[in-house]
Amino acid sequence: MSLTLPLLVIIVLAIVGSFLARRRALSVSGGDIRHLASLPKQHGLNAILSTVVPPLLAIIAWLMAARIMEYRGAAPLWVPLAIMALAVAGVVLSVVKVSNTFRARTASETWIKGLLIGASTIAILTTVGIVFSMLFETISFFRQYPWTEFFFSTNWSPNFRGNSDLGIIPLLWGTLYISFIALAFAVPTGLFAAIYLSEYAGPRIRGIVKPAIEILAGIPTIVYGLFALTTVGPFLRDYFAQPMGFGDSASSVMTAGLVMGIMLIPFVSSLSDDIINAVPQSMRDGSLGLGATKSETIRQVVVPAALPGIVGAVLLAASRAIGETMIVVLGAGAAARISLNPFEAMTTVTVKIVSQLTGDTDFASPETLVAFALGLTLFVITLGLNVLALYIVRRYREQYE
């Protein structure tokens, strides 16, 4: 027996139970609902939740148990029967319990609190799941490939026939270099845009400019990549790299960095704008009242007061930059290289993860498994950045509030 029937039964029972509980509540109150400790609709809600939640939990528990015990095929008959029995028990109990003194509101709020806790647990458990799924593959990678080579070799040349050099340093270098250029472009631009929007622009201009900047955030990164490939790359090559003798590659760190910077502008500007707006007007008045000009006020009072939030916004943008793939593939190419010349093609960790996992792969060779080691390293770096962001924000909060 499949699990479709129990699901249907649960839904039907929930509807019936809610109806019955309301009716019974009305009847035990003798027509005057003021005699009830809880309103009829709360008895109804309690009936729905008591009918739905326990069987659903049971279904999830069964699915997990079946996976762990490596049970294949349809569930044995007793499983759907037990689930339906739980649903019936829920209906019966919640309807029977309806009385003048039963506090259905408290009961249903307990159910809801449980659901909320469940929702937040899912988010946390998923993160843990991601870490573990990468951790196991990474461990099997390091069984086949020395970790000193991985972390300290400056050479990346995978070879599917074996004997590969899998040093992360060139990839990390490309990632950090491109992210650095992106942030060096996005942070000042975004911050100045935010300052203009929150301190200088009138409400009309603000109403136009702010959504216009936020449109940038809605563009898919592959489209940014095309822009880098067809416009920015050739432009930089023809007008800067070639005349100045930096080389003649259209794919370059500069191309990817600039386009990625454009992508990050709305992150920085939108968040900073909100944060600058949250600085109380009394701060500005205090500074202006001392004879400071508007720009002195912004530089010395408003921005410092908003700094923790701005740092948070910047680190968030940095996490995005480090994890970005598409713009890099199309803008900076796929050649792993360590060079200071920003007009040379380089590549990043994420691009190599993709290229190691595309095509014919078995999940046994170090050439494939290295992708997980790369992914985990990246995860650790962005996690570190986020922790740092939280730490900075919290530290300044304590000091200034």
Binding site: S282, M283, D285, G286, G289, G291, A292, Q300, E401
Partner: protein
């Protein structure tokens, strides 16, 4: 007793409009030097609005429009050629809610002197900060923790820090917009005592909701009602023998 003193601020036919709203109606007043002048009146009567004309803080509100003349030492400050930034260095302001900057106590006080270039070097600045904090009657409480954030002080200390911050730029006039309304009675008493001392050096204009406070700290009182300045004179006389029936009603608690 102050009649023979010099006039510091002289306002003539001042009108203020917030968009369509006529907030101040044809107010003329002469404010004396080295005197505490109190503006009293019910909420929304325009006393704070008028106060904000004296250092042109209304310039920062887009919809506000001010007409008429305000002369400080004979110079018309409403003239568009007057730089409000320079004016505000001369006319300090203390606000209703203590608003220390999210900086250290030292930097809060040093802020004004720094932007106006009043100190030539670090020891100069140290001296200015100490003098301002002493005048703000808060030096003894904070001298050992000048590098701690100003926002960590208690409400009354914060307000005295803000007063110290305002006097650090050596203003000639000090405007106070309900400086004690967010403070408890003890902190209020400290700030009032401080206002009385500041009278030695400045022309102090204080807006207050509390008639007792006006009576305690001021020598001259102006009563505002619905945007008009109803009556202006010696504080003692206003409170004991008001001429206008509206002043009388307000003081005796019938309106406001």
């Amino acid at each position: 007793m102050n009649a023979q003193q010099d006039t510091k601020i002289s306002a003539r036919n001042v009108n203020v409009y917030y968009g369509e709203k006529h907030a101040i109606k044809d107010v003329s007043v002469e404010i004396a030097d080295k005197t505490v002048t109190a503006f009293i009146g019910p909420s929304g009567c325009g006393k704070s609005t008028f106060l904000r004309c004296i250092n042109r803080m209304n310039d920062t509100i887009d919809i506000a429009r001010v007409t008429g003349d305000i002369l400080i030492d004979g110079e018309d400050i409403t003239d568009p050629r007057v730089d409000p930034v320079q004016l505000r260095a001369k006319v300090g302001m203390v606000f209703q809610k203590p608003n220390p900057f999210p900086k250290s106590i030292y930097d809060n006080v040093a802020y004004g002197p720094k932007i106006h270039g009043l100190a030539r070097n670090k020891s100069d600045l140290d001296e200015i900060v100490e003098r301002a904090l002493r005048r703000g009657a808060i030096w003894d409480e904070v001298k050992d923790r000048l590098q701690e954030p100003g926002t960590g002080l208690s409400g009354g200390q914060q307000q005295r820090l803000c007063i110290a911050r305002a006097v650090a730029t050596e203003p000639e006039v000090l405007l106070m917009d309900e400086p004690c309304s967010a403070l408890d009675p003890i902190a209020t008493a400290q700030v009032e005592e401080l206002i009385d001392e500041l009278r030695q050096s400045y022309s102090v204009v204080i807006v207050t909701h509390s008639m007792q406070q006006a009576a305690r700290v001021s020598q001259k009182t102006a009563f505002f009602h619905l945007g008009n300045m109803v009556e202006y004179g010696e504080t003692d006389r206003i409170f004991t023998n008001p001429e206008d029936p509206r002043t009388e009603s307000y003081i005796s608690g019938r309106i406001g």
